[in-house]
């Protein structure tokens, strides 16, 4: 495949820049830089096609290192408000809440897309590990089947996500039934939302769309856009963390056409997970971090 693919990975840490989290003291990061470098190594090793890797450094704390195919661009989160407002593309993104942490993750993708030179874009987390080089095949399949995007995580539709997009979703889920569990969600297997753990599309997908923080720190808007425009898309299974589907394990391995494609190691750029107070006090997060690091070491 001679087409260039731009792989966009948001990054954030507290090492060089304070991030104010609601209800949290200023915290420090653990090994998030090291883990991100391991993920870059993994991309270079497994994805052998023509590519560029764009780290969008939201906290301006990623080391100035040289790695094959790597570009580091500055995200907007660490800028002061005046600098953000003066960005040429500021008006495009309808930013009206500078404290929304989810928004800065979404905005990191948008900043990365602005810098991307590729014909295709992969938006992904810095905790996604590639097992096989199936992207070229996916791109071919996207062209043959006229798919707008291929995304991991067939997310359940949360109650608030449904409410916020009610007018469009109602057309596609005619019979609505809600479950109060898991934060409230729509009980349906008929439809779900895309996510940015792994999200592959043409760059032109973003001609009339940007990763909209209004849908959360994910990429639900991509699904809404396709539904609205009557276009096709594909969500990769198995559909973990979705009570509408049963999964036999919680490994977060994703398949493409029955081949193991990626593992979402669930320990990425979320500062909340790396918050020191939680690390010390909350055994569950400590276990998550330990699992992530153990699995990453094992896979690398």
């Amino acid at each position: 495949m001679d087409k260039l693919v731009s792989i966009i990975i948001p990054f954030a840490s507290n090492e060089g820049q304070d991030i104010k989290l609601p209800n949290h003291p200023i915290t420090t990061s653990c090994n998030i830089i090291y883990n991100t470098i391991q993920i870059i190594n993994n991309i270079n090793k497994v994805l052998t096609f023509n590519k560029e890797i764009i780290i969008v450094d939201n906290t301006h704390s990623f080391p100035d290192i040289v790695m094959p195919n790597l570009r580091i661009v500055k995200g907007w989160q660490a800028l002061d408000r005046e600098q953000i407002v003066n960005q040429p593309s500021f008006e495009k993104y309808n930013i009206d809440d500078f404290n929304n942490l989810s928004m800065w993750v979404s905005m990191a993708y948008n900043v990365g897309i602005q810098h991307a030179k590729g014909d295709y874009i992969i938006c992904q987390h810095n905790d996604v590990f590639y097992h096989s080089n199936l992207v070229s095949r996916m791109i071919k399949d996207m062209e043959i089947n006229k798919l707008e995007y291929i995304s991991a995580d067939y997310k359940k539709i949360f109650l608030s996500g449904y409410v916020a997009n009610k007018e469009i979703l109602y057309k596609h889920i005619p019979s609505i039934e809600f479950s109060p569990e898991d934060g409230g969600y729509v009980k349906t297997k008929a439809i779900g939302f895309a996510d940015c753990y792994f999200f592959l599309s043409k760059k032109s997908f973003y001609d009339d769309y940007f990763v909209d923080w209004g849908y959360g720190d994910t990429n639900h808007g991509a699904t809404i856009k396709c539904l609205d425009q009557g276009k096709q898309f594909l969500h990769l299974g198995p559909y973990y963390d979705n009570p509408n589907f049963k999964t036999e394990n919680s490994d977060h391995d994703y398949l493409y056409k029955d081949s193991l494609f990626i593992t979402h190691l669930k320990g990425g750029f979320s500062e909340d997970k790396y918050a020191e107070d939680k690390y010390n006090e909350n055994k569950i997060n400590r276990k998550d971090i330990h699992n992530f690091q153990t699995r990453l070491e094992k896979l690398c």
Binding site: D97, N99, N100, S160, K166, I176, P180, E181, I284
Partner: protein, 229 residues
């Protein structure tokens, strides 16, 4: 190799020759030597004998008001206890490895049923707990796996309504509201973030959204309302 016989220690079965050897026979010395040289194997055949005795072809072991049934493995798999009047007051079931699978007990007018998840050598962890009174469910609790942390709690308030609480795995309240007796969401519902910040509020009538929903940002500031009619 040898096998102990069930109801006597004065003889042993040689499984290689399929012959029974009594303790007064010359071959008994061969067994005692084997036993001394193979302490673990001797322990194992003793365990196997005890398991088979306990299993008792699946028949119930009755002792007073207590009834026990054992797996072929020798582990208990069913335990019942009755009061003097003959009513069942405790009923526990067990996995094949002996870990507890479910419990039932009577406490006053309440009946309490618990289910467990088998964690192998780590024992069992609680999965759910249900309180009933005369066949009517009063309270039910679902737990996060392997944690003893409550995931959901449903408590009956009246003949029409029950209150529902959903929790994150760090113990923080995630959602609360009312359910009708068909488990449909009804009345006012509130959802919170992991950091205890309000995320959204809604009003339901028998599972359908009505009136207005209010959505909030990560700082708990109001962002949007949606009218449902």
């Amino acid at each position: 190799m040898f096998k102990k016989l069930l109801f006597t220690d004065k003889c042993i079965l040689n499984t290689d020759t399929n012959t029974v050897i009594f303790d007064f026979e010359e071959d008994w010395k061969e067994y005692t030597k084997w036993s001394q040289d193979n302490i673990e194997s001797e322990y194992k055949i003793q365990q196997d004998k005890q398991a088979e005795l306990s299993w008792n072809q699946g028949a119930v072991h009755k002792r007073g008001t207590e009834h026990r049934v054992f797996h072929k493995s020798g582990h208990i798999f069913d335990y019942k206890k009755y009061n003097i009047g003959g009513s069942l007051i405790i009923h526990n079931k067990y996995f094949y490895n002996g870990n507890v699978m479910s419990t039932y007990r009577k406490r006053g007018y309440l009946e309490i049923k618990e289910t467990y998840i088998d964690n192998g050598s780590k024992g069992s962890s609680i999965n759910s707990k249900v309180f009933t009174n005369n066949g009517t469910e009063r309270k039910s609790i679902k737990y996060y796996p392997n944690s003893n942390i409550v995931q959901t709690l449903i408590k009956r308030l009246s003949i029409e309504f029950q209150i529902f609480h959903d929790y994150y795995d760090n113990g923080v309240l995630r959602a609360q509201g009312m359910l009708n007796m068909q488990n449909k969401m009804t009345g006012n519902w509130s959802f919170y973030s992991r950091d205890k910040i309000i995320e959204s509020t809604h009003t339901f009538d028998k599972g359908k959204l009505i009136e207005k929903s209010y959505l909030y940002n990560q700082l708990g500031e109001f962002t949007k309302s949606v009218y449902h009619g």
